[in-house]
Symmetry: C2
Subunit: 215 residues, 2 copies
Amino acid sequence: MPRSSYRLPKIPEMTIRRLSVYTRCLLQLEEDGVETISSQELAERFGLNSAQVRKDLAYFGEFGVRGIGYYVTKLKAELQRILGLDREWPVALVGLGNLGAALFHYKGFSRQGFRIAVVFDDDPAKIGRDVDGVPIFGTADLAREARAREIQIAILAVPSEAAQGVTDALLAAGIKTILNFAPTRLRVPKDARLKNVDLSIELETLSFYLAQTPR
Amino acid sequence: MPRSSYRLPKIPEMTIRRLSVYTRCLLQLEEDGVETISSQELAERFGLNSAQVRKDLAYFGEFGVRGIGYYVTKLKAELQRILGLDREWPVALVGLGNLGAALFHYKGFSRQGFRIAVVFDDDPAKIGRDVDGVPIFGTADLAREARAREIQIAILAVPSEAAQGVTDALLAAGIKTILNFAPTRLRVPKDARLKNVDLSIELETLSFYLAQTPR
DNA sequence: TAGATTGTTAATCGATTAACAATC
DNA sequence: TAGATTGTTAATCGATTAACAATC
């Protein structure tokens, strides 16, 4: 069977993560007025190999100019398009406790085209209010309000006990892309795309290295 | 040159991360009263290969019983020792905004032996107060108060602008293991161990897959 | 043109997995 | 003992890096 023109060759996840890092670097370079950059220069900023940078890009096309390198503005635009960061994604934030509030105000999201369009929280003191103009609803209204805003991405920042219930509600509302901050294993169907952010695993690996080093 | 008995063979970082995951699973299994588990059963819970589980463990010793598997309580204790989770690590939390407060209350840390022993924040409204009995100091007192508590690990949850200054203060106080949540690149000496937690990169990779899928 | 840097192939490296003797 | 499962070696796979012809 010939490969559909929609389908790319299998892209390593690490490549996607690096593209995301390159993009941020290019945004900075553009601000600084830098016009071109070579794969060598770009690689050095992250301790990577220049061939790796070129190979990461080669999965998606030819963006450079031999003898010159890459035009910063052009490459930035290409990568934003590839990563889907050239448009606005309305996002639902579920849970407005400390973590939810921190994520709400997190600069990195909005800078890359993610816009928190609605907040869900079951605290009666919060329902019906808004944060910076973004309305807060109870999860009972999740499907209706998420659909009204054509939301495809949710950020989950609720207590572990509530996480599965909210997830089921999100799936029922047709939201299949979930970034989960609750430290719990969620059951989702195969076609859903769930990414768990584990806040404590990094600390545990740090303690390993600390424990290895006799003081 | 014979390998020093202190030095382990080079351990892949992914192995350390998986050990951390196994440990949490074993804690749960122990709570559930499960006495033994095979590499096969353990692997299935995370979609891994049983040989990988055995190999991860083999870096550190022989913990299983042929024909039986692993005794849950024994393996848990071994892994906790390896990861340095068998003791209490006093931790400094720097920055008590929304994110800092969320991390302060995060259950995962304390469950694994990390105890936030002191908080630093330069908000005059917070200095001199405490959270759940943990004192809050200004960063001017960082070196003195961190040393008094023999702190070796810091969690950084301050705004990006403040992150480098705080980092320098931490290093000056002899704290060389830092978990950084500020979305900024920190300069640290070679012997420091810095781990950056990037809250937005996961969202960006999710948007890549979403952008690939024509609706 | 000469120098620089890309895009790509081939070589290398390291991590994952299969297979199986050892042994509970 | 027979069955099960480990610890470990060998095979496989995939990602990284080196090398270089193509070309600006």
